[in-house]
Amino acid sequence: MKRINILFKIALASVLVLNGAFFIYANTRTLSVSEKVKPVTLAAYQTDKALTNENLAQLKTNSAQLKNKITAMAATSGNNVIGITYYSDLISSSEIASTLESNNSFDLSEITFQSSGKSCPISGIKAQWNSLLNAYRISDN
């Protein structure tokens, strides 16, 4: 029983030290110029009809209302996918969808992609490492 107690204490101390070290590293390392750029989220929306030039003009007007919340919008005539990059701390993807839809003749839905598929596992590990560091950071940019 005593031994388990000691082992538990050692494990607890290790976890605390590791967390502390991680916290210090994540918050004190010098960020590169590009890491200081505020991160964005990428979203894809599908329309139920092919986009017309009138739709594109309206989309432009609508997306101008989201200035400073979205960083880019892309849509082309004849296609039915809209690409958006946005700051997820300032606006939600559903708010974007309803703003883009207003005064337009189509219905919009966000495309949810499957994260599976053939891909190099290293990208996943690197991305996880990146997100772990970000999780430990106090400020996001």
Binding site: A44, A72, V81, G83, T112
Partner: protein
């Protein structure tokens, strides 16, 4: 009379001497004027914020591009992966433009191995980048310079 003119002669010589020194000094100054350094492509593009704006527009264009968007389905599905791809693209463009960044991602061969990317897909992606730069007002010459650098990566990307 001759003796009297000596100080005047000396004064005259001094004046001419100092004038010629002045003009020499001016010539020297002309030589040492440091030419204003030509701004790097990074500076001409507008620095890191302009590059990140181009990258965001480029990513949005790729998402809306029916020729290649399916290729990025797994990336869009995972916010962390998107974040990393964006960071790598910003670093790659910034470093290619001689900016203060270091590309830390995979080599282009490693990143595109097994994807069997076709020439049509490559051109579509380059078109999306061109559209992004054009819509954000990047000068034609600067676009060409960047495309010249990134276009050189084609053999490492297509058909891998």
């Amino acid at each position: 009379m001759f003796k009297k003119s000596i100080p005047a002669f000396l004064l005259g010589a001094l004046l001419i001497g100092s004038l010629s020194f002045q003009s020499c000094k001016k010539d020297d100054d002309d030589e040492t004027v440091t030419p204003t350094p030509t701004p790097t492509l990074y500076e001409r593009l507008g620095g890191i914020n302009a590059i990140s704006a181009v990258t965001d527009q480029f990513l949005a264009n790729v998402v809306a591009d029916p020729v290649i968007n399916a290729r990025f389905a797994a990336t869009i599905a995972d916010a962390n992966r998107t974040r990393l791809l964006r960071l790598n693209l910003i670093d790659q463009i910034c470093a290619a433009a001689a900016g203060p960044c270091q590309y830390k991602g995979k080599t282009m061969i490693e990143a595109h191995q097994g994807l069997n990317i076709t020439e049509v897909e490559f051109n579509a992606l380059v078109g999306d980048l061109v559209d992004a730069m054009t819509s954000l007002g990047v000068a034609q010459a600067d676009q060409n310079e960047l495309l010249g650098i990134l276009g050189g990566l084609k053999p490492d990307i297509v058909g891998q």
